[in-house]
Symmetry: C2
């Protein structure tokens, strides 16, 4: 199942060789859990600092907004050296994405094994519709973080979370629109849920979320050729 690949960690294993084990659930599970991958098995101090850093970062977001999350500030707030932040999260984007990891993993779980129509059980077109609505709803909550966490253009489409979403949408499309290029069409559909676009439409243009929801529903109907639900 190619889902597994996309489920992988936010941060690519930076140092050392790593036996392939894509699924990483480190901070929802007791440390030392994973019997195969050793990447999540951080040294005691490293794990402690990682937790500290995430907590500090979250606090900074709450207090000063995402723009206030400076690598130096996070390091200071966690009483840790700056280098440690970069070693753990790679770069600012990595840190911000790690901050959203919980929410993302929960979402992915809902897609894979939650109740329909988001999870399996509903017809593909309807699951697609539910997917978009869920994404819009998520954006409503952590839009600022999603914006701030946007990686450089060259990396944007290789972010694990996005690859997962793409694989999910492509899978549904393959069933709902068998004659289309589901891979590329998945890209297109996902693009219309881009946080930057949502921000532009809602915050900058003052459009209500409902309009975006209607547009998504309509888009799904058009591309899959199914009739829109009234």
């Amino acid at each position: 199942m190619l889902y597994a690949d996309a489920m992988s960690a936010t941060l690519p294993p930076p140092p050392g060789p790593r036996p392939q084990l894509p699924v990483e659930l480190l901070d929802t599970l007791p440390s030392g859990f994973d019997p195969v991958a050793d990447e999540p098995c951080l040294r005691a101090d490293a794990a402690r600092n990682r937790a500290r850093l995430l907590e500090a970062a979250a606090r900074l977001v709450a207090e000063h907004g995402a723009a206030g999350v400076t690598m130096e500030a996070v390091a200071a707030a966690a009483q840790v050296g700056k280098g440690t932040v970069f070693r753990r999260f790679g770069d600012r984007t990595g840190l911000l994405m790690a901050l959203m990891d919980h929410s993302e993993k929960k979402f992915q779980a809902a897609l894979l094994s939650g109740p329909p129509p988001l999870g399996p059980g509903a017809p593909p077109a309807e699951r697609l519709r539910a997917f978009g609505l869920a994404m819009l709803s998520r954006a409503g909550e952590e839009l600022e973080l999603q914006l701030a966490a946007e990686p450089a253009p060259e990396r944007r489409y290789t972010v694990p979370a996005r690859r997962f979403h793409r694989a999910h949408v492509a899978l549904l499309l393959r069933q709902a629109a068998p004659d289309a290029d589901s891979e590329l069409l998945a890209h297109t559909l996902l693009s219309s849920l881009d946080p930057a676009l949502i921000h532009h439409l809602t915050v900058q243009c003052g459009q209500p979320l409902e309009r975006l929801e209607r547009a998504w529903t309509d888009l799904v109907a058009r591309t899959t050729g199914t009739a829109p639900p009234e």
Copy 2:
């Protein structure tokens, strides 16, 4: 005509009040041309430095790629102070976009008054198709620059060039798919021509441009409900 608005200059007039005159063609015309707008009427030294800077920037792109275009390097190469670069172009993104202005203006002219199917005269769905193919072709040429010129997420959808494209696509959609939310659908269609996506698919995934072209054609057909041209 709401085209006019989107045709406006790459850089918003930073200092002083400006009588509304949207169309700006400054560097294709002798300076001092515009009888209404005074923004393009730069002082002699300013105009000279602007030209120097653009030339220097273009040379740097040619020699070291877009990544080599450092504001300081450009300033040095143009034998000009760093502050001057920022005064003229606002920021790095502004400079890079100015570098693409010629090509963009030509493209816009082709859309507005060029020969069909890109220009007026062809049925809307076909013009849409031509638009996407033209965008893909353009991306093939100056992809690197387009990537480097990508603005921050909050500004991405307010860039004049993009607003123009959006208005154009929305106009065509209003005819080709009257029952859709043409504004939002325009956003969606445009997103699938995003330089970052094109880069990802062609450079990183090695997909041939033809596949993207087919996907675009198919997408237009699906969303407008018209039959795809065989």
